[in-house]
């Protein structure tokens, strides 16, 4: 029991630290949101109109206005009420609403590709380990090491250029086109069509980590005594591979999956930017660009809470599954 209490205590302390940092960091950055927004609205070569800048400043509220301590307490108070304030970029919409619109896009795109990547990667890794030093193994291991060295945004640009611009098979930007969002076939087909390119990038780069991780743990497990025993007593190969080795090798990967699902809320900033995909990643980039503190804080908080909760769940699961974890820490 002490183990679980400690984990929860640790969770709360980390959450507080994260929330506080989340409050401080944006305020350390230089730049006035009103001026930045003015420049953005007017373009580079535009008259500097003090009246308009003043009006914008009045609209967004002066971030340097109240003293920092009061701001901090207000911030904690509104967080507790679930009030994240009004977005500067999408003024006067509330941050909650803005995130709500972008969330499904990321959840579907990143979530689906993550789970497919996990399943495919784990299977490939397990098989490569089972047939280690075979042609298949060298192909998969070398291939994924090679693709793993390429930055994913670069791969994205390459794919966008080839299939979007040169061949023109797929749309180059956006999440959908002419259809009206909702549960109708036309929209779903449209959205699916638009997600092909970003999803393919995520599916190419996604499994690599799982392949290599699974292969290594699996190889280690295959050298264990219980595998040798199973072999000796004539258990069929497939059963040894899947029921004995793979099952045990899966444990670290599951923790990894929990963390990946947690950090999924941050979206795929670079990939979403390249394909102009309307998810949380692109929203984060916009918030940074526009010094949209309320939106940025909420997005970062989402990611942090997502990771922390996933971590907590993984810790608790570990505690239940593996008695050693409880002993070591207490």
């Amino acid at each position: 029991m002490r183990y679980f209490l400690r984990r929860i205590g640790f969770f709360i302390a980390t959450l507080w630290a994260a929330v506080t940092l989340n409050f401080i960091i944006p305020r350390l950055q230089p730049g006035d949101p009103a001026e930045i927004m003015f420049k953005k609205l007017q373009g580079k070569d535009a008259e500097l109109d003090p009246a308009k800048i003043e009006a914008l400043r009045a609209m967004l509220g002066d971030p340097a206005g109240a003293n920092l301590w009061d701001q901090y307490w207000n911030y904690l108070g509104s967080l507790a009420r679930g009030d994240f304030g009004i977005s500067y970029t999408y003024f006067p919409y509330e941050v909650k609403t803005v995130i709500g619109v972008a969330l499904p896009w990321t959840l579907v795109l990143v979530g689906v590709t993550l789970i497919i990547s996990f399943v495919v990667g784990t299977l490939l890794g397990a098989f490569a380990a089972w047939r280690r030093n075979s042609r298949f193994d060298s192909f998969v291991t070398l291939g994924s090491t090679f693709i793993g060295t390429l930055p994913s945004f670069w791969l994205a640009l390459l794919i966008l250029f080839a299939f979007g611009y040169v061949l023109g098979w797929f749309p180059t930007a956006g999440g959908y086109d002419a259809s009206t969002p909702g549960w109708n076939g036309e929209f779903l087909a449209d959205a699916l069509y638009h997600s092909v390119l970003p999803a393919s990038v995520l599916l190419i780069t996604g499994p690599i980590g799982w392949i290599l991780g699974m292969r290594n743990t699996m190889i280690m497990n295959l050298g264990e005594d219980y595998v040798r025993l199973a072999r000796a007593k004539g258990v069929p190969d497939a059963q040894i591979a899947l029921r004995y080795a793979a099952r045990n090798a899966l444990l670290p990967s599951i923790t990894g999956l929990a963390l990946a699902l947690g950090s999924m809320l941050g979206g795929q900033i670079l990939i979403e930017q390249v394909f102009d995909y309307p998810g949380l990643g692109r929203l984060t980039a916009q918030a940074i660009d526009n010094k949209d503190y309320p939106l940025l804080q909420a997005l970062l908080l989402f990611t942090i809470v997502g990771v922390l909760v996933a971590n907590l769940i993984a810790d608790v699961l570990y505690g239940i599954l593996d008695p050693r974890a409880r002993k070591v820490t207490s």
Partner: protein, 571 residues
């Protein structure tokens, strides 16, 4: 290609305060307003004269840069309104190129002194809900900024550029604003105030945070549909000048970078675009010279801004010398493919503002020549001798270094600075480029922590607000406030001239005062003009003709409303 943010974005015609006009109606000259050259429109524009048929559909880029689908808002004060142009209309529109006025919701205006401004409101205008426009609507809209400072985008109720307003009164069809002092320089902003329906907006508790989903405007269009990406506007048959609007359906869709925009334009998926397309002649026009056109009007001037609080830039002789040694033709070629021409050192947009030129410069070429030998001679004469290492030193022998700060990623600026730094090095000046994030450059401008930067000098109609704000000592930026006088020109005589000009009502006197500012530019080199900066218009004439062009410069890209009343069917 990856970033669809700031730089590549179209100038959304969001700030419809700089205004435009045709040569339809000449209004009486009056205070605060300087009538520049009247380039009379040629009878035809964009190739053909067009027919009286209706145009089914015109497609243009979305006005908002950012969108997550489905957030609908037409509140014209919101930074993210889906359109700020086509529902709520201004009182008058003034062409920022030739400064002609087109009456809009007001049929005329009159200044009494520089403290009392009266607009006569047009009769017979109907809101899209069927109610008539009244002078009370105008009074309500003008007074909104008094109650909510966040909505005072024209600065009517504060002391920016002229004294604040005291009250607004209605007599018959006339709406009069009385100011607490001289307010002539506010004129351009006031005519651009969006007129709102009082009967709708008076019921709203907080118009600042109001999400306007169902706009009631006087404009030529109403909302047809919006699916989160594509805004379809439908023509209003009961618009007050419906006979001039031929576009049945106006589609605003997409944010494009230069490559995508060129593709869309060529494929006919876009009819007009006003973002940056480098080398539009090759990327667009050459592909179909009969249908594809572009016109980059001068909106202002790109200037080299030195930091006058530092040596040697505080020495006029030094500034004069390097100003002669800059190759503006090469800058034009490298930064704009020769589209934007070298600019006059006067700070005025020529030839559009030719009639403001003082006698002494009127007949001369005011674009500074590129003369390295003369520049070197001037530097030698001023005591900036070449030292042992082949570089010039300050007159006292101390080393002289110039760091030219430029916004990283602003490609045209980077090319410009590359040429300038090479030119300075040719004068044996130890110059180098420092590339910095645009936000950092902004911060350095505020804290005066730079040697040289590039800047934009606006070329609008209120000279007191353009060259004036570049030279007025009360427009020097502070640590927390961005302002126009980045070079920090601080001269009481100039301040007096600007103050006089911003309250002047007499055209002859205005010309004299502008002349005095031009003289400062020509002899003191507070900033050095390089090339004109563009207001871009790139368009196709397969569906609609009548777009503004060099032959018919009736509007720029900030005057879309005016352009809508000029478009005619090509078929």
């Amino acid at each position: 290609m990856t970033r669809r943010t700031t730089r590549s974005h179209p100038f959304s015609p969001v700030g419809l305060t700089a205004l435009a006009a045709t040569g339809m109606l000449v209004l009486t000259a009056c205070s605060g307003r300087i009538q520049t050259n009247q380039n009379q429109p040629a009878p035809s524009a964009g190739g053909t004269a067009g027919t009286d048929a209706m145009i089914d559909q015109v497609t243009m880029p979305a006005e908002v840069a950012e969108n997550v689908g489905g957030l609908v808002n037409y509140n014209p004060f919101s930074p993210n309104a889906l359109t700020k142009v086509y529902f709520y209309e201004p009182l008058m529109i003034r062409n920022s190129l030739n400064c002609q006025m087109t009456p809009w919701l007001a049929t005329g205006f009159k200044w009494e002194g520089a403290t009392k401004l009266t607009f006569t409101i047009r009769e017979g205008v109907k809101w899209s809900d069927g109610q008539p426009l009244t002078p009370d609507d105008v009074k309500f809209s003008l007074e909104l900024g008094k109650r909510f400072s966040a909505l005072d985008t024209a600065g009517i109720w504060n002391d920016t550029f002229g004294k604040k307003a005291a009250d607004v009164t209605v007599v018959g069809n006339d709406v009069t604003i009385t100011f607490s002092g001289n307010a002539a320089a506010k004129f351009d902003s006031i005519i651009g105030v969006k007129i709102l329906p009082k009967h709708v907006w008076e019921k709203i508790d907080d118009p600042v945070k109001y999400i306007d989903k169902d706009p009631v405007g006087t404009g030529p269009f109403t909302v047809g549909s919006y699916n989160g990406r594509k805004l379809v506007l439908e023509r209003r048959a009961d618009y007050w000048q419906a006979d001039k609007v031929k576009v049945q359906k106006l589609v605003l869709e997409g944010n494009y970078d230069a490559t995508q925009a060129a593709l869309k334009l060529n494929a006919g998926g876009l009819d007009a675009y006003w973002g940056e397309i480098p080398n539009p002649q090759v990327a667009f026009v050459d592909k179909n010279p009969t249908l594809n056109h572009f016109w980059y009007a001068p909106a202002g001037t790109t200037v080299l801004t030195p930091n006058l609080t530092k040596a040697p830039f505080n020495d006029v002789k030094f500034r004069e010398a390097y100003s002669q040694g800059l190759n503006k033709d090469e800058i034009s070629t490298k930064a704009t493919y020769g589209v934007m021409k070298p600019a006059s050192q006067t700070g005025l947009k020529l030839p559009y503002a030719e009639n403001l030129m003082p006698e002494e410069f009127a007949k001369k070429d005011t674009v500074l020549p590129f003369d390295t030998a003369k520049a070197e001679q001037l530097l030698d004469a001023a005591g900036y001798k070449v030292g042992a290492n082949g570089m010039r030193t300050n007159p006292d022998g101390s080393p002289l270094q110039i760091k030219f700060t430029v916004q990283a990623g602003w490609i045209d600026y980077e090319s410009t600075v590359e040429v300038i730094v090479r030119n300075l090095q040719a004068l044996h000046l130890d110059a180098k480029t420092v590339k910095s994030a645009p936000d950092n450059v902004e911060a350095q401008k505020k804290s005066a922590d730079f040697d040289m930067v590039l800047e934009y000098l606006h070329g609008g109609c209120e000279v007191a607000r353009n060259i004036g704000s570049k030279l007025a000592s009360d427009q020097i930026p502070t640590k927390t406030k961005v302002q126009s006088n980045v070079e920090r020109w601080n001269d009481p005589a100039t301040d007096a001239t600007i103050a006089q000009l911003s309250g002047s009502t007499d055209p002859a006197e205005q010309k004299k005062l502008v002349g005095s500012l031009v003289d400062t530019m020509m002899t003191q080199y507070p900033v050095t003009s390089l090339i004109y900066a563009p207001a871009r218009m790139i368009y196709r004439t397969d569906k609609a003709v009548g777009w503004p062009s060099a032959d018919d410069p009736y509007a720029t890209n900030s005057d879309m409303l005016l352009i809508m009343t000029h478009l005619k069917s090509a078929k």
